[in-house]
Symmetry: D2
Subunit: 102 residues, 4 copies
Amino acid sequence: MAEPSAEHAQHGYIGDKDAYLRRLKRIEGQARGLQRMVEDEKYCIDILTQVSAMTKALESVALGLLEDHLAHCVVDAAAAGGPEADAKIKEASAAIARLVRS
Amino acid sequence: MAEPSAEHAQHGYIGDKDAYLRRLKRIEGQARGLQRMVEDEKYCIDILTQVSAMTKALESVALGLLEDHLAHCVVDAAAAGGPEADAKIKEASAAIARLVRS
Amino acid sequence: MAEPSAEHAQHGYIGDKDAYLRRLKRIEGQARGLQRMVEDEKYCIDILTQVSAMTKALESVALGLLEDHLAHCVVDAAAAGGPEADAKIKEASAAIARLVRS
Amino acid sequence: MAEPSAEHAQHGYIGDKDAYLRRLKRIEGQARGLQRMVEDEKYCIDILTQVSAMTKALESVALGLLEDHLAHCVVDAAAAGGPEADAKIKEASAAIARLVRS
């Protein structure tokens, strides 16, 4: 994969990048598995079971990234204080609302 | 893609197979896009926005498949009646519960 | 409570009305409990834990009602066949989508 | 309602207590309305629509409380730093996971 350039390295908040990449690779594999199931006209309920498993895997990645974000960006902004801290809280809350509602 | 064999054709409930395959292909692309974002250490909130979009796309595929399933397998079983109809309703309800809870 | 009149009895699909009423009464109690917690300024995380429990209880009532509905109204319409069956499937699918997205 | 005593005042994080109490009162009313609907055997789909509306109202209260919590308790702990900040982030993340999964 692409060498992370200095320019990209500004958000070094991700706890364990390789673990996230492995999980997302597995999710990509689940998306391909679903295509095979539809192609082969597998039983609809079995396809739905796989969709639920994939949704849970995605949700779990999102919750991990969110915790990393709170622990780094939000805590740093809070320690610095001022309007930046407020803005980070509002931004994180909006992201949480999108997750809860999706 | 592969010619659906007679053996595979038993669950011909899927409304528009090609449309589902296109949507799942796009979801697979979203999973790859997320890997690039993590690889490049994009801003966490932007990654979470993409995860929410991908979850919504998956959910929408699941709801479409479920409607197709109700309209074909469940309606056919209901028309035939008997214990098979009850079993199909229980099975569909369990799948709906997994979707609602995932 | 009120004697169900003949007029009200048209949707006799509900498996066990008393059980649903007891569960909804308990949910009403949870809503009152939450007001006390906010009034007493209990710890936010404890309030959120109660909200999650109440949401799960509501979700579970909804899934029960939906299964009753599929087993009665939808199965009856399917057995009768025709456009009424299609309309019932569309209506149930829209209700499922609202539950999954809420 | 009861005067908040000094003892209760320890978690003064709630943005606008009266607004939350009004929203929870309305949610309690929705729970009572659902009981009437079940009692009167209203059409199942209409009951489910009300359940979805009530779930959304609860969710929205939860997201508001969570934002208040992040903006007060978590920001204060973050500004103080140390293990307390880490503990608050873990606790908030667990509450978010419960909301996302409920």
